[in-house]
Amino acid sequence: MNANSRSEKWETVVGLEVHAELLTKTKLFCSSPNAFGSEPNTNVCPVCLGLPGSLPVLNEHAVELAIRIGTALGSTIAPSVFHRKNYFYPDMPKDYQISQYDEPINVGGRVELPDGSVVGIVRAHIEEDTGKTSHVGGSGRIHTADYALVDYNRAGVPLVEIVSEPDIRSAEQARSYVNELRAILVATGASDGRLEEGSIRIDANVSVRERGATSFGTRCEVKNLNSLRSLGRAIEYETRRQVAILESGGSVTQETRHWDEDAGETSTLRSKEEAFDYRYFAEPDLVPLAPSSESVEAIRSDLPLLPSARRERLKVLLATEEPVPTEQLTTVVTLGLDDLVAASIALGADSRLALARAANEAATQPELARMLAPAHFTELVRLEASGELSATQAKSVLAEMLETRRSPDEIARRLGFEALAPKELDAAIDSVIAAHPDEWRRFNEGDDKVSQFLLGQVMRETKGRANGKAVAASLAGRRG
């Protein structure tokens, strides 16, 4: 069976568990700083080290951020209870994790992806993060290391775990979902959205089934997915692996698997038999959480525009008959550059060009791009649209605008891109016509081949400062 008919026969089913660290000043249950990149074991106290006698006290801001996420996902904000999830692990100071179990704060919800598909949300609950273990010596892998070091700075950092329904059907859709979710988390101010720093982490539940089947196949949970790329590759790998097992007459074993980015494959981490029995029970050191409906409504009414609404807003601003550049829309919204685009359109910029420059060039440095002055960006788009700067020139100017935040005129001048004053261009064209009367005559008689020659002469006359489009337009305008 070839790959095509195989993919026609089998369908991938994916549900994702996305863990997002919340942007609080302090940890979930104590006043130790929630900060990334500090010296090991400096952001700790008796509570987050789980010292005997210490007790947790819930961080109110973490609850507010969790509710913001819930309202953004369209969840029901429910009275909730913290539970202890018991298992031994050296980077977990109490050897239990305070999490939420059967009464989570956010129940249900949905995420609409840019392509219009919808992924259901089962729940989004609050829990604490663990510390980090580094294995030292040997090859640095768990089983050959000489010893392990534990950094508890991350222990107790607030997380929201967002569990999706098994509604995802491809690696591409999984990436799109995580992108969209990340954009929602950033928009609500709940997360910085940085996958590379581990502030968003993903586990994937992957199964396959025959297309058209109504029940699900046996799933495997894949861990250690720390980029969108690994997420996509791991889902594709798991799909191939499980299809191969099923096609050879075998059956998939439910287990937890580890993604090895270098090898490009998954391997067994824990079998079903070795799975932890977490012995959940209600955390007696905390009281049940029952946010008032007033506080939930206050948070809801304070929510910023969410990515799907922001894409809609830009679509309206584009207002043309041409097809909507969906990818560019998604990019600028995901990176938070849509405000810049919208503002520049409001200031009179060409909407498609503004969108393109934001999605293609500004997007390479989103942090800097978000700090661009809309007036500067608008001016840049105007210079390019009017032909005063060529596309190449405009991109160079934009790159420097991102670095220096200076105005496009100033940068263009410094780079020598300064558009010729119309008079200067006219003078240059006059002198080219005077110097090449034959070519000018042939051009006037409709010989287009000679236009390139004339344009080249103008460029030479202006030492390359003229904009090609502007020259061509001017030459055409003078043609008799």
């Binding site: 789980g50 050897d95 050191d285």
Partner: protein
Amino acid sequence: MSPDPRSEFPSAVETASLVRSGERSARAVIESTLERIARFEAELHCFNLVTDVDALSAADAVDALVAAGKDPGPLAGVPVALKDNMCTRSIPTTAGSRILEGWIPPYDATVVSALRAGGAIVVGKTNLDEFAMGSSTENSAFGTTRNPWDLGRVPGGSSGGSAAAVAAGLATVALGSDTGGSIRQPSALCGVVGVKPTYGLVSRYGLIAFASSLDQIGPIATTVADAATLLEVIAVHDPADSTSLNVTRSRWSTDLAEGIEGLRVGVIEDFLADAAPGCQSGVRAAAEALASAGAKVEEVAVPSLMLGLSAYYLIAPAEASSNLARYDGVRYGLRVEAPDTAEMNSRTRAAGFGPEVKRRIMLGTYVLSAGYYDAYYAQAQRVRTLVARGFAEAYESFDVLLSPTTPSAAFPIGEKSNDPIAMYLSDLFTIPSNLAGHPAVSVPFALDQGLPIGVQVLAPALGESTMFRVAAAVERAADPMARGPIEPRAKTNS
């Protein structure tokens, strides 16, 4: 008749008054307590650690405040013994376990700060059953504490060191912790007053957890007035404990004289049948005394209370199995090296925990396990609700309830140490208050064959004021020879 030996032991209220007025220095108080500890500690073994140097410098600080005309606090200069499961900054805290031997907390429990603010002076950390699991103090990794009324008998537990220390005058007052009776039962067996306050009244921050939903710190003293005064000092709202109640500070000690006329007292008849004759007759005598003091006394059946014990022995071990997981050899305390982490965890815990702690961890792990949770843990929680409901119904007709504190007086060392169920039954009458989160106090009332027996006064949540008033009335009717402090004695002279 020999003179009352207690005359040489001023109460906490008297001591504080002498120190505050400058009639007696805190240093002199502490020195005499330390002398008495030096004299009797070897035979009693109340303490895991005597903090003599710190106590003397704290006494000097109190004296300096008095000299400067500043308020040294309501317990100025009062020697207090601290159960060794309450964290003390820079002072070892063991919870009676090898697994924490040598661990030095970097912080004080909230009660320790409150005691200091009240002028009390910690003289040492008292012995206990390991992690407060036991009713005899025989489960300590650091030796058995002996009952000053009969050195061959147990002081009760788990706060046996604290109760014995107060009974023998090695401290004027003490703090214990009570999860299923661990303050009241040893207090009854040692002839002292022991209070389990309303859950949430005293902060648990810095108390090494046994069963978080049941644990509560409380006072042990020789008089009801001392116990009430000590509770006033430690019952502070604590934002570091999410279960700490935010209630107005009470003045229970000043309510004691109010009398009990018209109060409705219910004698729990379900408990009487299971009590030794001496304990039964003690409660009946106390009930009569309350009636003659103007209370309306009746017997009342509260059958659901008898279900408490079995629910308790599912809930408490379940919470304990989780609370004690952190003793894994990774961060502090004992570590037994091994080739990999799981094996290190396992060897450390095998070597560090005693048999009773292991029994409860296994029991608790089992009842929380997938497939057993509903049958055991969830069922026990339903029973807990039934117990609370039983109390609620009884308190519709009564202001307080009365019962024996324990089924019997102090038993000989070793008698129940190989029979866990017999040992667990020691807490039959005390457990229901923990399950409901209610306050209860044990008051020494009479001697039974030369050993003290306690009468328990139970009250609804935050009913401390009424509870203390009734306790004071019981105390007034009690045999004065049935309470400490006493000179430790080798044998019962019955």
